[in-house]
């Protein structure tokens, strides 16, 4: 048995699926590559107001002021084809990309299959991808295609002769000339055509009639040209009107994300990475890759990630195009241990880090890493590692720290220091003002004398009259209170 997925007006459907509710409005599709573009495909609402294929856009607009004219988009057609094939592949490993919007599945070897259920499920999954499809199931690919074209939305052919006899003769694709002759003869259905007999038909109508008869009896099968669906998960849209605020962008992004995740789930994948590309009016490209700490197919988690980022995005020009793609990956399953410190929700943590970055700045959030330098306060901030828990067991580190901890003033507070016999005797600064009771020092240090970043300093630890310990430092001739020992 074979199944055929048939998406009528496929090019139009590829465009309509990007925007919600568009299929109910009068929309026509034109090909801007044509010299004189005409209406190629149209929605039922457009047909309802008197628009037909072949009309010029002006003629179509004259029939409805609400009409939307959409251009064909190769990227959207490719995305829809990929989605169609991926959906088909989730039902059968043997699939053929028969034509644009037509996919044939070989159902041989599928166990205990209820064909009606399969057809309904196929139609439902394609509806989740916003592709309204007709499903036909028959003994051979041609019969299945005829069934799909006639389906509303599913048709399973159990008695092929009965089914074919009732079909209109044009469904087997006669040429216009042959069709006119058949009409003159009073032949309206395939059954009437077959009843004429193969030999009399070939004698009177020639070679074409033989081919038509072959199709009309539909008793021959053919091998499928098998394809594998591409591992590309991408959705794209070019906006008719420029986007200046976040809300419409989020609306489309969520729709895209849902579709991508349905496609990934059908192939038993989850999203490992998301790539967002924006096209601005100035043709300036913008690309941002979101690495997902714990690959997931959860729409809310991934949408929050995109939302958080877009909230902080500022651009000089409005957005005219959007592209969202997902890299597939395997889900990581982790069983939480009783005494483990594993991140419970790495994706939420990643999002929290993004929010913290937006709040305090990228250089002020992270894990500090001390630099290999004697220069005081020399550290850099690194991104928080999510694999910290990978190691287990207690970390044995030699504890050599002595004395109280320094609580730094960043930047160091300028001070005026009065020296007596080469030692600080009094300090005047915004953090402390008064006499110095006791001192330790000086400790002199310098470094990087070989480049412009050279530094040299003198440090003193002082016990002030307020009972607290401060660190003073002198760089060149300037004194600073660097921190308090706390």
């Amino acid at each position: 048995m074979f199944a055929v997925i048939y998406v009528s007006d496929f090019f139009l459907q590829a465009v309509l699926r990007a925007e919600a509710g568009l299929e109910k409005r009068p929309v026509v599709l034109i090909d801007p590559a044509q010299k004189k573009p005409v209406v190629l495909q149209l929605t039922a609402a457009a047909r309802g107001v008197g628009i037909a294929e072949g009309m010029s856009p002006t003629q179509a607009l004259a029939r409805s002021t609400l009409l939307q004219i959409k251009p064909r988009c190769a990227a959207q057609e490719k995305a829809a084809t990929d989605a169609l094939l991926q959906c088909a592949y989730s039902f059968s490993p043997n699939i053929e990309s028969t034509a644009s919007g037509v996919c044939t599945l070989d159902l041989a070897g599928l166990p205990n299959l209820q064909h009606e259920e399969l057809a309904n499920e196929l139609a439902q999954r394609l509806a989740m991808l916003h592709l309204p499809a007709q499903i036909g199931i028959g003994e051979n690919p041609w019969l299945a295609l005829l069934a799909a074209r006639a389906a509303q939305p599913c048709c399973v052919v159990s008695n092929s002769t009965e089914f074919l006899n009732a079909l209109p003769v044009e469904s087997i694709g006669p040429s216009l000339e042959t069709f006119a002759i058949l009409r003159k003869w009073g032949i309206y259905t395939v059954g009437q055509f077959v009843a004429l007999g193969k030999e009399p038909l070939s004698t009177r109508l020639g070679a074409e009639a033989l081919a038509l008869h072959e199709r009309a009896v539909a008793n021959s099968t053919r091998p499928l040209k098998l394809v594998r669906p591409p591992q590309i998960f991408e959705e794209t849209i070019a906006f008719e009107h420029e986007i200046e605020t976040i809300e419409p962008l989020l609306f489309i992004l969520r729709r895209f994300l849902e579709q991508l995740l349905v496609r990934l789930e059908m192939m038993y994948w989850v999203a490992q990475e998301l790539r967002l590309r924006l096209r601005f009016e100035s043709d300036e490209p913008y690309e941002k890759t979101f690495r997902i700490p714990a690959p997931t197919a959860n729409v809310e988690t991934l949408f929050r990630m995109l939302h958080t980022h877009l909230e902080t995005l500022r651009a000089d020009h409005p957005i005219v195009g959007l592209e969202l793609s997902a890299t597939p990956g395997r889900a990581i399953n982790h069983q939480f241990g009783l005494f483990e410190s594993v991140l419970r929700d790495p994706n939420h943590f990643h999002e929290t880090l993004a929010r913290l970055t937006a709040l305090v700045g990228a250089e002020r959030v992270g894990t500090p890493v001390n630099e290999e330098s004697y220069k005081p306060d020399a550290f850099r901030m690194e991104a928080v590692r999510l694999d910290h828990e990978g190691k287990s067991g207690r970390l044995e580190v030699c504890d050599t720290a002595r004395g109280p901890a320094l609580y730094r003033f960043r930047p160091p507070t300028p001070a005026r220091v009065q020296m007596t016999r080469g030692q600080p005797a009094a300090v005047e600064s915004s953090v402390f003002e008064g006499a110095v009771c006791d001192t330790r020092g000086p400790w002199r240090a310098s470094g990087q004398w070989w480049d412009k970043e050279h530094w040299g300093r003198e440090e003193w630890d002082v016990e002030a009259s307020d009972g607290r310990l401060y660190r003073l430092c002198r760089e060149a001739k300037d004194w600073f209170v660097e921190g308090v020992y706390d």
């Binding site: 991140l343 044995e396 006791d438 020992y485």
Partner: protein
């Protein structure tokens, strides 16, 4: 030792500071706000000790640094590997950051260090803020330690105060020795005020 003694009823985060773990019967309770009042000195040293212990145990800790005063130089990079350090410019920003980190719920311990912030900033914190933080962490497996220069966290179920002073001779002692000599006083314990403060000094 029975199971009830071995495993405290409320899960807690061991700080590695013997006095705190002793007073709080195991460490900082999760889902509870603990306030450490460090009026004089010792707050930064206590934090360093807690971070060292968490690093040794490979535990994650978030340090919301209200005045960007933490000095990582005394801890080596391996110990710092599990630290999320948020360097804030003022107390208001620190509270916003704490709100985000607590809502995340991934960190077993969140330290909100406000003891270096000017009194003017701390006075501007509305009293309801502390209750909001308490409500956030109540259902989470996170312990929240707020270090302040004076008692101010009205929603703190546990309040410890630290009375300590260092001298220049303190450099003769190791960090462990210094911490063991510090005096912590339990002023408020879960749901009940402690009328006679309990003080613990490590033996």
């Amino acid at each position: 030792m029975g199971l009830a003694e071995k495993l405290p009823a409320r899960p807690c985060f061991a700080t590695g500071v013997a006095q705190i773990d002793g007073l709080l019967q195991g460490g900082l309770s999760k889902g509870v706000v603990t306030e450490l009042v460090s009026a004089q000195a010792g707050g930064a040293l206590t934090l360093r000790r807690i971070l060292r212990h968490a690093g040794e145990e490979r535990q994650r800790v978030a340090l919301i640094d209200g005045a960007d005063g933490f000095d990582p130089a005394d801890l080596n990079n391996e110990l710092l590997a599990g630290l999320l350090w948020v360097r804030c410019t003022d107390a208001a920003q620190a509270l916003k950051a704490a709100d985000l980190v607590l809502r995340d719920g991934n960190m077993p311990l969140v330290i909100l260090d406000l003891h270096g912030n000017p009194a003017k900033q701390l006075r501007k914190i509305p009293g309801t803020t502390w209750y909001r933080l308490q409500r956030i962490i109540e259902p989470t497996p996170t312990a929240l330690l707020i270090v302040t220069p004076k008692p101010m966290v009205s929603s703190a179920e546990v309040r410890l105060s630290l009375a300590n002073q260092f001298t220049l001779q303190s450099w003769e002692q190791t960090e462990a020795e210094l911490v063991s000599r510090m005096k912590f006083v339990l002023q408020r314990a879960a749901a009940t005020e402690v009328h006679e403060p309990m003080a613990v000094e490590a033996s």
